[in-house]
Amino acid sequence: MRLPPLVRISFAAERVLNAAARLHTLFWDEVLWAWFGPQRREAINRIIWGRANSYLPGGNTFERGLFEWERLAIAKPPFPQAGRILLGGAGGGRELVQLCRRGFDVVAFEPSGLCDGARQAVSSFPNSVVVQASYRDLVTAAQEHTGPLASHVLNASFDAVLFGWQSFDYVLTELDRHELLCATRTLAPKAPLLLSSWMVRDAENGRLDCLRPPIRRICELLGAPSARRPGDVFWPCGGFLHLMSQGELEAAADGSGYRILDFRPSAVSYPHAMLMPQ
């Protein structure tokens, strides 16, 4: 049986719009990554995340509490049943408040204005603290013993480390991922590390992807200060982020003295991994 003409027209219109959407995404990924260097990307991400009200206490995302995969991951070894946790990319405090309610003491940090919301969310847990700081500040604390996180993470022992939901995707280069994991391992040498990532969804080899190199060349000719690499995306609600491949995750873990205990590359749930220091 053939589909009725009305349905076929609807499908055709949807295909045209999907192609337009793909073209739109591809164009702006290339242009924005080319014209904004690393420092401006971080600043833009902070502005975008500072407006993400759904991540604040009372917002939709915050009120979801822990996701099923998070609940499962922290309920079983090697994740400890109690102790002190280092939480990076804490957002508005969604994971933070749930961890505090489960009896953990948490040192959390978040670079954007969401930090104030996270502070507010755990105001009744005096053993937990929220610092306005980035993953870069964690590396600085580990390497140079300075910066906003130094007094909170040095000379403290952590029983687990959690990188807040998808926050590892905001560590944009291989070098930065390597340095961050090395810093984490230095600060919490025996602690399991739970992280999640959107992971790469397509191979960038579709028909429209052949437009990427010419766009890149035009940006280069026009004097763009930077360039996009595979996996680099710009999301209107998420800003600049890097969708890792499984290989990139494995390389980051191996190169910094972690082994991957459990990796769930689910496309339906959220890909996440539990790492242990080797």
């Binding site: 049986m1 589909l3 009725p4 009305l6 349905v7 609807s10 499908f11 219109a13 949807e14 295909r15 719009l17 337009a20 959407a21 739109h24 702006w28 242009v31 924005l32 014209w35 904004f36 401006r40 600043a43 833009i44 502005i47 975008i48 500072g50 979801r64 509490g65 822990l66 996701f67 099923e68 995969w69 499962l72 710009f234 209107p236 689910s266 496309a267 339906v268 749930s269």
Partner: protein
């Protein structure tokens, strides 16, 4: 003062808003047109064609290979879901849940209306002789319970079931309140003591209240004047991926349960990807 985004980023965000509005408009018009002009019987046939092209649901496809979702695994491992026994599985798709349940030791009577997916489901449990897959729809389950005929009668009657599972989002393909009530009553008649687990696609309260949604009543009135054979109701949706589908509110699930002799043990709206509910016969 709130820091401003650079001009280039603001342009990207503005064009994204325009793109979203156009996509929303296309979807809105498609939904109103198709639900108005395609009568109920043809909708099911169209859905079967749409689903027959879904290789991802078949063994080897990425959705099949996902196995059970976390929420399904937790639900199956927790009472009142039984630790063993026979399960009635509706909307079995290509066998994702079926294969996992058989692997956990359950015997399963599964059914699926799409011929191609049904074949895939059969193939996925060929190593489990106590499980069977029938090509049948939820309408056929109602027929089996009410008239004791149809493709499911021989498999679902005079058999006891320890649990019932409606495959992921399959309850969304029961479009009307009366059909949902009839299905749940049939399920309760066939499995009077069994818990019923269903995962569904939800729509938030207050959905369809955007600016562009104001066009919907006008389109509906126009089609009524043109004597369209049917009409779209709130929650009725259509995409090339899902076909005709009805996005359920939690209230609709509650109402269907209440009116068919089930009580809701739990109804979890989140976290994503799917809200789900466990019902027990009262």
């Amino acid at each position: 003062m709130t820091p401003q985004l650079p001009l280039l980023v603001r342009i990207a965000l503005a064009t994204e808003r325009v793109r979203n509005a156009v996509a929303h408009l296309q979807r809105l018009v498609s939904e109103e047109v198709l639900w108005a002009w395609i009568p109920p019987r043809r909708r099911e046939a169209i859905n079967r064609i749409v689903y027959s092209g879904k290789d991802s649901y078949l063994p080897g496809g990425w959705i099949f290979e996902e196995g059970l979702f976390d929420w399904e695994r937790m639900a199956f491992a927790t009472p009142p879901f039984p630790p063993g026994g026979r399960i009635l599985l509706g909307g079995a798709g290509g066998g994702r849940e079926l294969h996992a349940l058989c692997g956990m030791g359950f015997d399963v009577v599964a059914f699926e209306p799409s011929e191609r997916l049904c074949e895939g489901a059969r193939q996925s449990v060929s190593a489990y002789p106590n499980s069977t897959v029938v090509r049948a729809s939820y309408g056929d389950l109602v027929t089996a319970a009410e008239r004791r005929t149809g493709p499911l009668a021989a498999h679902a009657l005079n058999t006891s079931f320890d649990a019932v599972l409606f495959g992921l989002a399959s309850f969304n393909y029961v479009f009307t309140e009366s059909d949902r009530r009839a299905l749940l009553r049939a399920t309760r008649a066939i499995a009077p003591k069994a818990p019923l687990l269903l995962g569904f696609v939800s729509r938030p309260q207050g959905a369809e209240t955007g600016r562009l949604d104001r066009l919907r009543p006008a389109i509906r009135r126009l089609f009524k004047l043109l004597k369209a054979p049917s009409a779209r109701c709130p929650g009725d949706s259509f995409t090339s991926y899902t076909g005709f589908i009805h996005d359920l509110t939690l209230d609709e699930v509650r109402t269907a349960a209440d009116r068919s002799g089930y009580r809701i043990v739990y109804c979890r709206q989140g976290p994503p990807p799917h809200p789900h509910a466990l019902l027990m016969p009262q």
